[in-house]
């Protein structure tokens, strides 16, 4: 009597969680923008046997954005998930994996990320500020002012903007713009940059030194600007990092294969 087909995998089975972990690490490893994502729910899993010890696995995953920038060396397990009130961002991914002799590998993945709706955030937190669009003029001005302010005071390398991660604008009480952006160290000191900023280029990949800045600009009722930048130090890239300055925050859908 032919052996009964194995019971379908449940989404909370250990095998499913192992496949999801490989998929999430792959997705974060392939991404070059925004923030790291972590697993929220395994929506569905389908296993298609290909032969002895050879399965194709299709996963549908729901991910949530963490506060760790994608270039941060912080392990994903230590990355805090952005809360509802901080205007959460979720990602939906379809991932195709292969499992041969127990070894999992990703064959393809396709993800779409989107911020929670303003209405949902307002329901939970009526007074919370909301995500602003990346091409918002006030956001661009605030990031530029913050980076200039930092570069004018630092004794370290002159930093260039890689991309704006996110920005939130509060209009009441007080007009406040909070921004987060990725930066890269250049081959200039801040002093040298004052003389000839055009000569300041991002360090080559074998010396690259990326970092991240958070800034709060108060435009009313009083004026104030607080900037904090942290450089990660040189990291041996495990994949070719294509850091393109000026990249927008939410990329519509990034196919990875």
């Amino acid at each position: 009597i032919p052996a009964a087909p194995p019971a379908p995998l449940g989404c909370d089975d250990p095998e499913s969680e192992a496949a999801a972990e490989v998929a999430v690490n792959y997705i974060n490893g392939q991404s070059h923008h925004g923030y790291k994502f972590t697993l929220n729910t395994i929506e569905d899993i389908r296993v298609v046997p290909q032969g002895p010890n050879n399965d194709i696995i299709f996963l549908e995953l729901n991910l949530l954005e963490t506060k760790c920038p994608i270039l941060s060396p912080t392990p994903l397990a230590n990355c805090t998930v952005r809360s509802f009130a901080e205007h959460a961002v979720e990602g939906d991914c379809d991932v195709k994996l292969q499992k041969v002799n127990g070894i999992l590998s990703v064959l393809a993945s396709k993800c779409h990320s989107h911020a929670d709706s303003n209405e949902d955030v307002r329901k939970v937190c009526p007074d919370c500020s909301l995500l602003a669009r990346m091409n918002n003029t006030e956001v661009l001005e605030a990031v530029s002012a913050a980076l200039n302010d930092y570069n004018s005071k630092t004794t370290g390398p002159y930093l260039r903007l890689l991309e704006i991660g996110r920005a939130k604008i509060q209009y009441h009480p007080g007009h406040i713009i909070a921004t987060e952006f990725a930066v890269g160290a250049t081959n200039c000191s801040a002093e040298e940059a004052k003389a000839n900023v055009g000569a300041c280029q991002l360090l080559p990949e074998d010396q690259s030194n990326f970092g991240f800045c958070t800034a709060v600009m108060v435009k009313g009722p009083s004026q104030d600007l607080q900037v904090d930048c942290q450089l990660y130090g040189h990291q041996v890239p495990h994949i070719p990092l294509l850091s393109r300055p000026g990249v927008t925050y939410i990329h519509p859908g990034q196919d990875t294969s």
């Binding site: 379908p8 995998l9 449940g10 989404c11 909370d12 089975d13 499913s16 972590t38 697993l39 929220n40 729910t41 395994i42 929506e43 569905d44 899993i45 729901n62 949530l64 998930v81 509802f84 959460a88 979720e90 929670d116 949902d120």
Partner: protein, 38 residues
Amino acid sequence: SVTKRAVAAPAQHDKVPRPVGFVPPPPPCPGKIRHFDI
């Protein structure tokens, strides 16, 4: 003349009894929500 014999409705105890506290298994998917649902 042929008449249909009335048959008493099956007594409750005829049905397959479910063990006390029987909880149907959760559907295999979607899985648990680890943080929150947007």
